[in-house]
């Protein structure tokens, strides 16, 4: 707990770098959201070629297809998304995020009988979401990672993983509260050191799975797994170093106000 300012500033720096990257380079939006056509071909020499186009008419698509066919290439994937789908998806996604986050907030607040727990866990979760989006913007700029439907899935998974991790720590705090009258700061410290090994071991197992997916999995899942990996690391970090410090700080301020009153 004494390193609270240090951890909070690490988070702030990562988030600021992410936001700067978003502002400077923006996000590379895939055709799921932007609309357009993506065609993937396997050329005769076994090489893969992925082409992206804006909005195309049927005739244009047919022309591209016959051109490739003439070269003896086989079509592996063709995706066309109309211009109306994009904004609609963005909207639906934001609704999805908002609903699941608020439901989780309510659930934690109910389980731990305090809105403090719910909100601090949610802040940690948002922290992770922002970190992932920011890092993804950097990955997008340098390696061409695109924001697509899978990325949204990854984001939602990260949210639930982060909450999962935070709940384990909170649960330990709740248990210690029943046994002792110490203030929240001391209890939080105890809970953190007791759950640390578990937290790290658990993240290792998930990281193993994801690393395997990145190294060996197909092209389509590579970026999906990368997003999950960033999220897992951030999620593991945010429970002890974001959620709990916020909880403790909030508790301290609340007590000070009470004393003054």
């Amino acid at each position: 707990m004494k390193y609270r300012p240090l951890f909070l500033s690490i988070s702030t720096i990562v988030i600021i770098v992410g936001i700067l990257s978003i502002l400077k380079w923006g996000l590379k939006i895939g055709i799921d959201f932007k609309g357009g056509t993506l065609i993937e071909y396997r050329l005769q020499n076994g090489e893969k070629k992925v082409e992206r186009y804006g909005q195309l008419g049927d005739v244009q698509i047919e022309k591209i297809r016959s051109d490739y066919k003439a070269q003896g290439a086989t079509e592996e994937r063709l995706e066309t998304v109309g211009p109306t789908i994009g904004p609609e998806l963005v909207k639906k996604t934001i609704y999805g995020l908002a609903i699941s986050t608020s439901l989780i907030l309510l659930w934690i607040a109910y389980q731990f009988k305090s809105i403090k727990f719910g909100i601090s866990a949610t802040v940690a979760t948002l922290h992770d979401a922002i970190v992932v989006i920011g890092m993804y913007s950097i990955l997008g700029h340098f390696f061409g990672a695109e924001i697509d439907f899978l990325f949204v899935t990854a984001l939602l998974t990260i949210i639930s993983f982060s909450v999962h991790d935070t709940i384990v720590v909170y649960d330990r705090i709740r248990e210690l509260q029943k046994k002792s009258d110490e203030d929240l700061k001391t209890l939080a410290n105890m809970a953190l050191s007791e759950t640390m090994v578990r937290s790290i071991n658990n993240s290792f197992t998930i990281i193993f799975m994801l690393a395997a997916l990145i190294l060996l999995g197909g092209e389509t899942t590579k970026w999906f797994a990368s997003a999950l990996l960033i999220g897992t690391i951030s999620g593991t970090y945010s429970s002890p170093f974001v959620a709990v410090p916020i909880l403790v700080t909030w508790d301290e301020i609340q007590k000070k106000l009470k004393n003054r009153a």
Partner: protein
């Protein structure tokens, strides 16, 4: 493929039945392709009506799009007698009349006031009523054929000339048949134009190749998790691995039973659920390490399972909430309902449910047996000494 239906010309109260009609027509057209397990779904978002069609195993989407994209064609046909000519006796042939679906205002199911049997009542527009009057006038005692997309729907025999644009088709219909016929008639009556807004084709080779890669990645991932568990927790880790193995077998057989189509996001969901299944075990074992210091081993085991359960439950419920939103089982139109995201949610939710069972029930009982045997082992040794 996602089509958007343009329902702007249709009064709000009839949109639902109009869409239902369109869906029926499309379903019938889709069945012409003979692919296995085609799905046709309707979805609505912000007043836009969508029809989502999945056709697995179809090579060319172009024909499909053309055929599906057509507006339903409802026509009325009549018999025309070709007068006898030299060498041929008089014969009858079918010709289209000038009456089409555009002239039909509405079709609904009614009950015949005399027989009490279900019948279909037709309401024509003013113009359609006049055309219908002419046609029925010409064809008393003869059938008039109602044809939708070149399929004969019904061939009622005209009993009298019908004036005023309201007609009734009676016959030996069951209620279901009458309903179906009225929906089909409405589909033809309401020419709802549909246009393609999204198309996704995934080549079969890409699918199998990425799935093969992902399965390999999954196996390597599981193996490293298993080794990690044994390295960190020794014999306890071995028990967790057995639990994990059982988890894998149950999950995969459920995928087969339900059935869950394994897409890439689906496999990712499965792998993530393995991570979470292992987490239940890690939580318990870490707890066990602590409790072992202050209690006897069997007692510590029971306590750690009990204590860890609270956090396992709370954490997994939070994940299930997210799964529910992603799965969107009630098809709420404000949430995404796309196939891959749904596949991910389904495999993750199933994984969590099963891991609660294997992580708690299977591992716990294995450990109980394990500890009992060790204890009786020591007892015997003591007896010998």
């Amino acid at each position: 493929m996602v089509f958007e239906a343009d329902t702007t010309n249709i009064p709000t109260d009839r949109r639902q039945s109009a869409l239902e009609g369109v869906r029926n027509v499309i379903e019938r057209r889709v069945n012409l392709f003979g692919v296995s397990e085609p799905t046709v779904q309707t979805s609505e978002f912000q007043g836009k009506n969508r029809i989502i069609i999945e056709l697995p195993g179809l090579d060319s989407t172009k024909d499909a799009i053309n055929l599906i994209g057509q507006t339903a064609q409802l026509i009325f046909m009549e018999e025309k007698i070709i007068p006898a000519t030299k060498g041929a006796s008089p014969s009858a042939t079918l010709v289209s009349t000038n009456l089409t679906g555009a002239d039909l205002k509405n079709a609904s199911v009614q009950f015949d006031s005399q027989t009490g049997k279900p019948a279909i009542s037709l309401q024509f527009t003013d113009e359609g009523g006049k055309k219908f009057e002419d046609i029925t006038g010409r064809n008393v005692g003869k059938p008039v054929l109602i044809v939708l997309d070149n399929t004969l729907l019904s061939q009622p025999v005209v009993s009298e000339k019908i004036i005023g644009g309201n007609a009734q088709i009676s016959g030996n219909f069951s209620i279901d048949e009458a309903k179906k016929l009225s929906i089909q008639l409405n589909a033809g009556a309401l020419p709802v134009p549909v246009k393609l807004v999204q198309e996704t084709t995934v080549g079969a080779t890409l699918g199998t190749e990425s799935i093969r890669q992902s399965v390999l990645a999954g196996l390597v991932g599981i193996l490293s998790v298993m080794i990690f568990m044994i390295l960190s927790y020794g014999k306890l880790g071995l028990v967790a691995d057995i639990g994990l193995f059982i988890f894998g077998v149950i999950t995969l057989s459920l995928y087969k039973l339900i059935p869950v189509t394994l897409t890439l996001p689906g496999i990712a969901g499965f792998m993530l659920s393995i991570g979470m299944a292992v987490d239940s075990n890690i939580l318990i074992f870490e707890r066990f390490k602590e409790e072992k210091l202050i209690r006897s081993i069997p007692n510590a085991l029971e306590t750690s399972f009990g204590r860890a359960w609270d956090s396992i439950r709370d954490a997994n419920i939070a994940t299930l909430v997210t799964c529910f939103i992603l799965w969107n089982p009630l098809d709420w139109s404000i949430l995404p309902s796309s196939g891959p995201v749904r596949g991910f949610a389904i495999t993750l939710a199933l994984g969590i449910a099963i891991s609660l069972f294997t992580g708690i029930f299977v591992s716990r009982n294995l450990l109980r047996v394990f500890i009992k045997e060790r204890r009786s082992d020591t007892n015997i040794r003591i007896a010998h000494e």
